[in-house]
Amino acid sequence: MQHMVIIGATSAMAEHCARLWVQAAPVRLTLVGRDEARTRRVADDLRVRSPQSDVQVMTSDFADATAIQRTVSHIVAQAAVDVVLIAHGVLSDQGTCQDDLLACDAALQINGVSPVLFAEAFAKPMVAANHGTIAIIGSVAGDRGRKTNYVYGAAKGLVSRYAQGMQHRLAHTGVKVVLVKPGPTDTPMTSDLKAKGQKMASVEQVAKDIVKGIASGKPVFYTPGIWQIIMLVVMHLPRFVFNKLNI
């Protein structure tokens, strides 16, 4: 059985990836979350879907490097890891981050620093085993800072640049690094946007793309694919045009 680890297992995208994995074949799954009860609920759902899978639950402090190191060491000591999906994040409110430095700090920590620390902690044992895939969920928001969400975007930009460097470092090893850049997706994180009527990709479709992208080891991909074109345009807009846009 493949051993898949999900950091931020209560994230809707991660949960749907897990559903697709257990549906394809029984797997060993280690679910890591911040909230034990919620993570357990995800585990129960997956156990009903796949009684043959072995689903374990762990909690960790995602803002503490020592706790992250301890969690990862514990996981890799249990069984060699085939895939780790780092999926946690919070869609922070830009206005709040501007008004409140503590909120800004927390948003940068949870969306940027924390995923990077998890990836770094997994890299060492996986490189030693010369095997496995580290997949990190970034965001289209990380491609170009915009006034409506640049704190979140900056954290995701950190993740992008980090993944890029790690891909460079591990290019000649058996470990793959995959960076996923989803566009706005219909998840609890974006329920406020949805309530305002914004069109969003279904989480099922995005999860399908992620699972496929991880299996093929694609270094960077957008989901849905259309965002590659959209962001190409957004990134290349001259500043005098970009600054006039209310996005």
């Binding site: 609920r41 129960d44 759902d45 009903v48 879907r49 609890p188 329920s191 949805k194 309530a195």
Partner: protein, 446 residues
């Protein structure tokens, strides 16, 4: 605020939408945003799922399974789980939902709140006959565990209770054993209602699923197609090796992108020009299929599920569905009178569905199924003309001491509702005061 329509697309009013995703927080959300109404997958036709300019609590995010006992077939899950997800997961493991309606794209909560029925009502009853218990969040902040022994009254009010007793958060369902995904089917053309009733009576004992399509434009000479089916056991299915290839093809089809009605045509595609030829062609095509056959349960039970957004074909003004049940005594006359009224009005329905219900009382105080015969019709919304026709149909239903199906209604008058649902006053005592819908205001005053 976001525009929300029911399946009939008769309105598109703004709603304050609150997405429920965490079952332990449901009561908190209800308390903070009331009065409101639970909204599942939006497959009910009229105003039962709408609360214009008010709160809607979306439940499809509550989509987790909680426990399954492979020995007894008992499934516990959250209320936003779609019936399709249950079917696709458990049929390969030898278990199936005992009752589903003509679409599996509805939530468990919606199936309970409308106590839906299927083609096998005469054999196994309605959805609620297989609900062992529910957890119900009230807008007071409490979450109650209901079952038939401890809390029979609130259970009976919640089953078929149109979401007005609280928000169903989780449910325990009894699945049934199934040997294969295959059905042995028989298709029989019939002429006239007398022949339909003969077929229905003759089939009730030996066939689990029965349903018929009727060409409602043919008036006195109403002709139709009667279909009946039985599940196939594993050995029966195994004896037909050709089924494996069909199953593989079916699975490929269901996992590819389903067809979609890509846009709303400027006017209804269901109109005087298209209806008659369609009904004739459908009848003749189905007649060609007369006799025995084998069908996968999905296309047999949910023929429209693979055409996404099919409700768009009725154009921008949407459509009404009119489903009544009338007691068997006088039932034939009443159905004939309805068909005559439709033929005379020139307001055609797409193929109408005609089926007999079994001789069993539903458990819910406001459950729709009762012993008798049920006729379901779609009418494109042509304004006053369509409403007038339905008024005439109301008169026939009232006279026959029948009732209309609330999951599909958008316009029945209050007196017909009160006459059709004699347990209404018993039900009202169990309502949650923090819940209101367009339908409850129309039919119950609040």
């Amino acid at each position: 605020m976001k525009p929300v329509s029911a399946w009939g697309r008769l309105s598109n009013d703004l709603h304050d939408v609150h997405v429920l995703t965490d079952r332990s927080h449901v009561a908190t959300v209800l308390a903070a945003h009331q009065p409101g109404l639970a909204f599942g997958n939006g497959r009910s036709y009229g105003d039962v799922c709408l609360n214009p300019h008010g709160n809607l609590w979306h439940t499809t995010g509550l989509n987790k399974f909680m426990a399954f006992d492979d020995a007894t077939g008992r499934l516990v899950c959250e209320a936003g789980v779609l019936l399709r997800d249950i079917q696709r997961l458990f049929v390969p493991r030898g278990w199936m939902l005992p009752v589903t309606p003509g679409t599996q794209l509805i939530t468990v909560g919606g199936a309970i709140a409308n106590d839906v029925h299927g083609k096998n009502h005469h054999a196994v009853g309605s959805f609620g006959d297989h609900v062992l218990g529910v957890s119900l969040a009230r807008t007071t902040g409490e979450v109650l565990s209901l079952d038939w022994t401890q809390t029979p009254a609130l259970m009976g009010a919640t089953l078929g209770g149109l979401g007005l007793t609280g928000v169903i958060v989780t449910a325990e369902l009894q699945l049934r054993r199934v040997g294969s995904p295959w059905l042995r089917t028989e298709t029989l053309p019939y002429q006239g209602l007398a022949e339909f009733f003969e077929l229905a009576d003759a089939s009730e004992h030996d066939w689990e699923h029965t349903v018929s399509w009727i060409d409602c434009l043919a008036g006195q000479t109403a002709r139709g197609i009667f279909m009946r089916a039985n599940p196939m056991s594993a050995p029966q299915a195994a004896a037909m090796p050709s089924l494996k290839a069909v199953l593989a093809a079916h699975q490929q089809k269901t996992h590819s992108q389903p067809l979609r009605m890509p846009f709303v045509p400027p006017l209804s595609l269901v109109n005087g020009l298209s209806l008659k030829p369609f009904n004739m062609a459908y009848y003749e095509l189905q007649k060609l299929k007369s006799g025995f056959d084998v069908a996968h349960y999905e296309p047999f039970s949910y023929p429209l599920d693979n055409l996404q957004d099919w409700n768009r074909m009725y154009g921008p003004r949407g459509f009404y569905q009119y489903q009544s049940v009338v007691p068997r005594e006088g039932g034939q006359l009443a159905v004939q009178a309805m068909l005559d009224a439709i033929a005379a009005s020139g307001e055609g329905s797409f193929l109408a569905v005609l089926k007999t219900f079994g001789n069993r009382e539903a458990k819910g105080m406001l459950s729709f199924p009762e012993p008798g015969v049920t006729l379901a019709l779609d009418f494109p919304n042509r304004g006053q003309r369509t409403l007038q026709l339905m008024d005439r149909l109301d008169a026939i239903v009232r006279e026959a001491k029948g009732r209309l199906y609330m999951a599909k209604d958008a316009r029945m008058p209050r007196d017909l509702f009160e006459a059709g649902y004699p347990r209404l006053s018993e039900f009202l005592a169990h309502r949650d005061a923090g819940i209101s819908s367009a339908m409850s205001r129309r039919l119950m005053g609040v």
